[in-house]
């Protein structure tokens, strides 16, 4: 988990403190949600310098538009939504596609795109599969990477992931299902080859 769970009352109290200019309140908000913001943006852009700049931009936007927060959703989801939209705009400016067709459409699995210079002899089977999976996750399109991270690492429910990305819950489930299946199948194929 990246942030301690907070109630809507806690969220509103923090928002009110920031809006009334209470000293240290905004820094507290940033500390509370910086890891989540970092996860979302890093998974989208995969570049540490860009992630830092975009994360900063996301929090400055949060600060600027916090008066528009209506407490209809958790503050965590609202901040993640801002981070997602900042990262998405960055990818669009760079003309990087957000989602790509899955392997069954283009014939390439994420693990097919992982560099072949990985030394199978050097690694144990467990760490070898873990390293391959991490590399494979990195090779997934930005949207699938981000959905996997929000759901598994940040433990967000599907409904919240849907709210953050602006997609339907069915679409999120479909991305999760297909990403996990593809990673598992590709790993099985790889391990079969290695064995």
């Amino acid at each position: 988990m990246t942030s301690t769970p907070t109630s809507r009352e806690d969220d509103q109290a923090l928002v009110d403190a920031v809006l009334s200019g209470s000293p240290g309140a905004f820094e507290r908000l940033v500390r509370q949600y910086q890891k989540l913001c970092w996860h979302v943006i890093y998974r989208m852009v995969r570049h540490s310098d860009d992630t830092q700049d975009l994360c900063q931009e996301a929090f400055l936007r949060v600060h600027q538009y916090l008066h528009q927060y209506r407490n209809e959703s958790a503050l965590k989801s609202w901040v993640a939504q801002v981070a997602y939209s900042v990262a998405k705009r960055h990818l669009e400016r760079k003309r990087i596609p957000l989602a790509e067709p899955f392997a069954d459409a283009d014939g390439l699995s994420p693990l097919d795109r992982v560099s072949d210079d990985f030394d199978i002899e050097e690694a144990s089977i467990d760490s070898q599969s873990a390293d391959h999976l991490h590399a494979a996750i990195e090779c997934l399109p930005p949207l699938q990477r981000t959905i996997l991270t929000l759901y598994h690492l940040d433990e967000m429910p599907i409904a919240e992931v849907a709210m953050i990305t602006g997609l339907a819950e069915g679409t999120i489930k479909s991305h999760l299902f297909r990403s996990r299946k593809q990673l598992r199948d590709a790993l099985n194929d790889r391990m079969g080859v290695a064995a």
């Binding site: 900063q56 400055l60 600027q64 916090l66 489930k173 999760l176 996990r180």
Partner: protein, 148 residues
Amino acid sequence: MNPEEREWQAQEAAARCDRNGGDGHELDALGASYLSVVRAARQPIAVPLPADFASRVAALAAERPSAAGLDSRFERRLLQILAAILCVAAVAAALVYGGNWLVATETLASQLDRPSLSLLLSLLGCLGVSALSQQLRGLFAGFGHSDT
């Protein structure tokens, strides 16, 4: 349960098992095949967040005015401009049409001093209809109560 639904359930079982710190013994073969995938997806991101990130962003934010402040300043300025336009319009209208308004007001005042017979009859008619409707409403209400 169709095969896709079964596979989805297996993926979710593996995710629950990993979140609860299980070693996968309770999973069936299909669920166990997803354990390494969900473990990899739960691994923290290797690139760390700078330690002073929050304080740096907070300092930057403090230097910038919030949109709420900008909005209220903008609204105040807009109200001042609108009030000034209204004042100018009122003065201009008084200068252009002031004479006509004076004549019309004097005519109306003289008519009100000597009300015509038809005006008085209309007023009495309105009062009579209003009183009659009040009495009829009371009568029907009385009938309603006596029925119950």
